[in-house]
Symmetry: C2
Subunit: 339 residues, 2 copies
Amino acid sequence: MNGKSPKIQDVAKVAGVSTATVSRALSNPDLVSDKTRTTVLDAVAKTGYRVNRAAKNLRKRQSDAILALLPDLGNPFFSQILSGIESVFTTSDLSLLVSDTKGIREDNLLDYFMDMRADGMILLDGAIPRNILSQLQSSSFGNRIIFACEWKPEFDFPSVRSDNFGGAVQAIEHLYGLGHRKIGHISGPRNNVLTKERLRGVEAAMADLDLPINREFFIDGGAFSLDAGAQAARSFMEMSDRPTAIACGSDLIAMGFISEISRRGLKVPDDISVVGFDDIEIAGSYIPSLTTIRQNRTQIGVLAASYLLDQIANRITDNAAQVQEVGVKLIARQSTAAL
Amino acid sequence: MNGKSPKIQDVAKVAGVSTATVSRALSNPDLVSDKTRTTVLDAVAKTGYRVNRAAKNLRKRQSDAILALLPDLGNPFFSQILSGIESVFTTSDLSLLVSDTKGIREDNLLDYFMDMRADGMILLDGAIPRNILSQLQSSSFGNRIIFACEWKPEFDFPSVRSDNFGGAVQAIEHLYGLGHRKIGHISGPRNNVLTKERLRGVEAAMADLDLPINREFFIDGGAFSLDAGAQAARSFMEMSDRPTAIACGSDLIAMGFISEISRRGLKVPDDISVVGFDDIEIAGSYIPSLTTIRQNRTQIGVLAASYLLDQIANRITDNAAQVQEVGVKLIARQSTAAL
DNA sequence: TCGTTTTCTGTAATCGATTACATAAAGTCG
DNA sequence: CGACTTTATGTAATCGATTACAGAAAACGA
């Protein structure tokens, strides 16, 4: 150990073979004889050799990294998904790069591929501008991209997502089962795909159950946040005729809503039942604990990461862009009650 | 545009100069004449050239990436810090790599430096095994590491953290100010530095205020989680003589605690006042909204990232390992009330 | 004007791996 | 046994940038 990192040359010298053989012994063990392989491995252990990633990647024209692009790194919703993604990459010796889309707008996503910073991307933001996506799609990197959670309907990149429609249906059916007939909905960000799917589910379920759809009961929250819920609560309080139950576009909306109406004297679930969507960590400990639709976020991460790896390695034969829907499940807790 | 990424050679040809000049024009503009520079920049624009990171990094023996190492990527607590970190790196053209310590134990952290995957590290986990840290410290990469949030007292890596001691003091003083004299504490993970600092703060404040320290009122939560709080609530219910106020080691503990005692018929803040620590996003919308100690997590991320960059680039002259403490602030809400 | 310094640019070595190609040795088969 | 295939290894080109070194041109000073 003289402080300098050993190079493949050093290993070759110690093992008494050529650098080519060392390289092969490490990355293509079948190509060398058993004896040579053990000699080389010993030499590697002895020298403490580690492959220099920059050199390897330059030669192989790759980067050994995947970028996960989030709408907002500060949003805790995504941490579970990241965790799922990372668990896959760790076993593949890939690095996980993260960035949020705020920094992206101007400088181009394509650059990550062009300058070899990433071999693939997992997009968690459905609001990436169309022109950037077209550019990606028509480039030679179009098949190194996958959407997770959110997606962009006009593009046929593969995607992994929850069954948002089905989740909304479950929420409505649950409320119906408890006897509720006047059901409202607070939706998320206006142009968000999740918002639309969930709204579609709500309406479909209501139609199926022969419930009259009262537009007054549909509040446009405008975001998935606590604030949106609180805001919606204010609209709610002003209604002359109020629904007895509300299905929310997210848990945060639900909590913001409950928080605000409680402050104004209403009780959940006595005066109104509330269902969330997501099942974030605190949902079970909120007071009242929140009935919600559980999304398996870790699995979404795992599936997206695995699929992307297969895709990059060309292991996917069927080249129709694939949509994987992950099942969701209603978790009944105390924010909903029989009428 | 024939689909192949242009190389520096191509730019050189278009601009009618050597590759050396192109390189200089891009990374050391002062070294070339004004005229040449504009010619080169035009050629770059015309060809759509982007520097190949692997080649650049190989030559410069760097990686253009910083690793953030979290105890648990799935834990939403860290997302804000990551966001702060990322905001700094984006402006520096550095990539942010993330990983959690679960994958680390076996394979060595030092490897990230050895194989040039990272130029530096931000450690958010105080529980990294001692031998790994010693190895890092004694390597030539010892000065490319910084702790954020948590830290390891025996090592003198620089670190950025909240004023945990001061936060605990504020919590106790707040409760004292409301008239509470029988004050308890639920602590976090046993060997965690934050746990220790906060406990120290609690005890110091109590001593200062001449409050008797009743060991029965100190519950060992064992973790910062909701569950720990719920568990502690059960111990609490069994006490013959109960404190009238509790300072918790984290917001999650506080919420788990409130949730559980509410289920058992106690009311917050009527029967007992509760203070959290962290001010996580939902704290303000919890019911009751949580009085807590606000940590500026984004700023911790920003400071850690900036300091690390300075350290790597400028070789910070003052080589005494620096500890930066970020101030915290008590946010009074509805989970605490006058006795 | 001539020598000296400064500014600008080009040539070619270099970073540290992988791998195409060549070749020697070993194995196969009629 | 000789022709042919397979296996194992080495030599050297290659990936695409940066930069040490050198030389030409321009600026400067006396």
